[in-house]
Symmetry: C2
Subunit: 138 residues, 2 copies
Amino acid sequence: MADDFSLCMVSNTRMAARAITRRYDAYLRGRGVNATQISLMGAIQMLPGSTVSELAEARGFDRTTLTRNLDRLEAMDLVDSGHAAHGNGRIPRLTGKGETLLVELLPLWRKAQAELRAELPRGAFEESLRVLQRLAAV
Amino acid sequence: MADDFSLCMVSNTRMAARAITRRYDAYLRGRGVNATQISLMGAIQMLPGSTVSELAEARGFDRTTLTRNLDRLEAMDLVDSGHAAHGNGRIPRLTGKGETLLVELLPLWRKAQAELRAELPRGAFEESLRVLQRLAAV
DNA sequence: CTTGACACCGTGCATATACACGTTATCTAG
DNA sequence: CTAGATAACGTGTATATGCACGGTGTCAAG
């Protein structure tokens, strides 16, 4: 049998995602949102006017996952959604409260990014982003 | 504000994990287990005699996540657990059915690995594993 | 023997993720 | 106008994940 599951790409991508998420979550603990949520808020900010489907495509989410993640942010009054001019499009955007919170938490996010970068060998942070984006694109 | 969340390591690791998991899940669809489960079964096979805590440490899981993932595999009769000689240790191992299924699905896993490797530039598969392991270790 | 430290463990709760399926709005061919 | 195609959507169900909390077994100090 002798197959080496330590080379399994599923194991390894998920393990990295768990480790990084836990790490960033620790920086944000007690601040009202977790790492996944703030990164979603950042994505909404960066792709204004996008529908849920467009956001999902851009961030590699299943559309229905995004629906529910947005529902939670709406319940917290951090996001609300408008309707597209035509069709059923749901267009999420940050509320004032959401923008305020995002700005308030940005220093923590920057700190998390900076300290991760500092713990990696020189250039490894950028290499990691490149590798991850390539994996997400296949 | 001008922060670039496209460089967010949380977003990028999770996006890669989602993409890879979806891909491997597609190879396994209808076979009774998903990609996460078969990779866990592989980990059990490779670390025989380990307790849940040791497995969790080795694979970067929270211990309680592993508890429930194992419960599901036990409910499917693919895994069962023995008791450590001392203390409360839970020691999972594949059942006969679990081993049979793992062997049966190995060709699909190998195919998934091989086709992913083929779609990446030369050397990128190995580079990816190295980068992911480094991220999981920080 | 009891008490406390320690190392395991599981459960309650919440969020994240995705597939299958059905719904709604718009447009176009007939 | 109607029927079908198309593009968006949400919900039901299931798995995955982790933190907070509490339980259980072992051992050493008193």
